[in-house]
């Protein structure tokens, strides 16, 4: 079929890596052996987003994150010096967890097995019966650290205590695009999660193209980013930053708002297409018909930014065909009843949209696992899917 005469094309504004045009292989989505390589070569070698700094505002505040793909739980704790540090939540005596709640406030940690104690910086401070450990130097038995660093309030950890590349260098121009976005001014308004029988890439791939919107979102926002002018929901622009990428979603100016959308936009900002709220870091290519940006941080973290709201996704592999997903939504502080109403509209509409997004994953995973499909044919509209797998293969094939 020849392409229709288009008034519209995705503008790709950065250097494109050579990624070929062939259909994608199935094996990386279903092979347990490939998954083990991803664990070693990707998840143990990349900076991984695990928290917002606001979750632990004061010295002594801590949170624990179970990271199944790393086969560990990470204890993040803010020290008396204000620095957030990450440790394996593992007592160095015989492996009991040192923090047993998901979050809390502590002066230090006492292991519930034999009572070893650690301070907020992970140093081993006390051991009952120390005289019975004749050859043990306490300095060797602090909590085992992960490298931990913060960018714009997002806390990342790295499996290697001393990674070859620092966080800012790893994030590169993806971070530069969002350096000025005022994340700290936003309130956390919602958290959703699910556990799905699908490979982590199958999962992610359902979220960084807009080709699916007209169909998958036919009940919620079918006319929001596709319409006469742009029938298949092509992105207005896209950027590739090393392993990361960013796409701007086109908005259909002919979108018909519902009564509740109209009310929400009367009082504040909604996820439903509406007015522009000018914030630095949005709409990097100044598209006249701009809805929001999908910003994908390799390997498994999204920050989608819009006018007055942003939301994040963390996709965590569990096994080759199982993953967990968490979504957090943030919106500019509500100072009035009307703004509170608009905040509610953002999250309720997004939540119902997400029910749709999650609906295809297990079917697609099953089909790949069955051997019925031999490869996946991809359109130019699904460039982010191609880039994600291209990067995965590059990392997995590294020495």
């Amino acid at each position: 079929m020849t392409k229709p005469e288009e008034r519209f094309h995705t503008k790709i504004t950065t250097q494109m890596p050579d990624m070929g045009t062939a259909p994608l292989p199935i094996e990386p989505y279903i092979s347990a052996e490939f998954f083990e390589k991803e664990r070693e070569k990707i998840f143990r070698r990349a900076w991984l987003e695990v928290a917002r700094g606001e979750e632990l505002p004061n010295p002594g505040d801590y949170v624990v994150r179970e990271i199944e793909v790393l086969k560990t739980a990470v204890l993040l704790v803010r020290g008396d010096d204000g620095v957030v540090r990450g440790f394996h939540n593992v007592c160095t005596h015989r492996g009991m967890a040192v923090a047993i709640c998901d979050k809390g406030h502590a002066k230090g940690f006492i292991c519930n097995f034999h009572g070893w104690t650690y301070d907020l910086e992970g140093r081993l401070k006390g051991m009952p019966g120390e005289e019975y450990f004749p050859n043990l130097d306490r300095a060797d038995y602090g909590l085992r650290p992960l490298a931990t660093d913060t960018w714009n309030g997002f806390v990342f950890v790295h499996w290697e205590p001393e990674p070859k590349m620092g966080l800012r260098e790893f994030l590169g121009d993806m971070a530069t695009q969002l350096d000025e976005y005022p994340f700290a001014r936003f309130n956390h308004i919602a958290r959703y999660s699910a556990r799905v029988k699908a490979n982590w890439k199958t999962f992610i791939d359902a979220f960084h193209e807009a080709y699916h919107v007209m169909m998958v979102h036919r009940h919620t926002v079918p006319d929001a980013c596709a319409g006469q002018e742009n029938p298949y929901g092509l992105l207005s622009s896209a950027r590739i930053y090393g392993p990361h990428h960013s796409g701007s979603v086109w908005v259909n100016p002919a979108h018909t708002p519902t009564p509740s959308e109209t009310l929400a936009w009367k009082y504040g900002m909604s996820f439903a297409p509406g007015d522009m709220v000018d914030l630095p870091g949005l709409n990097p290519d100044n598209s006249p018909n701009w809805w929001f940006d999908i910003n994908v941080f390799f390997p498994n973290f999204f920050i989608d930014v819009g006018p007055g709201w942003y939301f994040t996704y963390n996709f965590w592999p569990v096994s080759v065909d199982e993953s967990t997903w968490e979504m957090n939504i943030y919106q500019l502080d509500a100072e009035s009843a009307g703004q509170k109403f608009a905040q509610e509209h953002t999250k309720v509409l997004l939540r119902d949209i997400l029910y749709e997004d999650l609906s295809t994953l297990e079917f697609a995973q099953k089909a790949m696992g069955s051997g019925v499909l031999k490869h996946l044919p991809l359109s130019e509209m699904e460039i982010a899917v191609r880039h994600q797998l291209h990067t995965v293969q590059e990392w997995v094939n590294r020495p």
Binding site: A190, R191, Y192, S193, A194, R195, V196, H219, T220, T258, P259, S260, L263, A264, Y267, A334, E335, S336, A337, G338, Q339, K340, F341, E344, H345, K347, V348, L349, R351, D352, L354, Y355, E356, D357, L358, S359
Partner: protein
């Protein structure tokens, strides 16, 4: 089935029958929506739609983070309207048609 224990400001007491919906969290309101048949959801929507603008104008006289009890209940009814609106305006169903299984989708608060 009007519920007199559900306090509302004067001018809004006719909405007291919506007391069962005025749950304090999105998790609760969403759970209520997906367990309610569409005609009942439609009745809630129809009762609230024409009241939202005056409600918000009235509530805006109070500090949003320190609403008195009756006003706090009224604010919850505005949020109930938001919760039921997709069912009526878009989905024509309590749940998302062809969507992911609600019991597996966790709404945390």
């Amino acid at each position: 089935m009007s519920d007199t224990s559900f306090a509302l400001p004067e001018g809004y007491r006719d909405l007291a029958w919506l007391g069962d919906w005025a749950l304090p969290t999105e998790r609760g309101r969403h759970g209520k929506r997906i367990a309610t048949p569409l005609p009942e959801i439609q009745r809630v929507y129809d009762a609230l739609l024409p009241r939202i603008e005056p409600m918000i104008a009235y509530l805006d006289q109070f500090p949003i983070n320190d609403l008195p009890p009756a006003e706090a209940n009224l604010m919850l009814l505005a949020l109930v309207f938001v919760e039921v609106s997709p069912s009526v305006e878009l989905l024509h169903s309590p749940t998302v048609p062809d969507g992911f299984e609600p019991s597996r989708f966790e709404v945390h608060f």
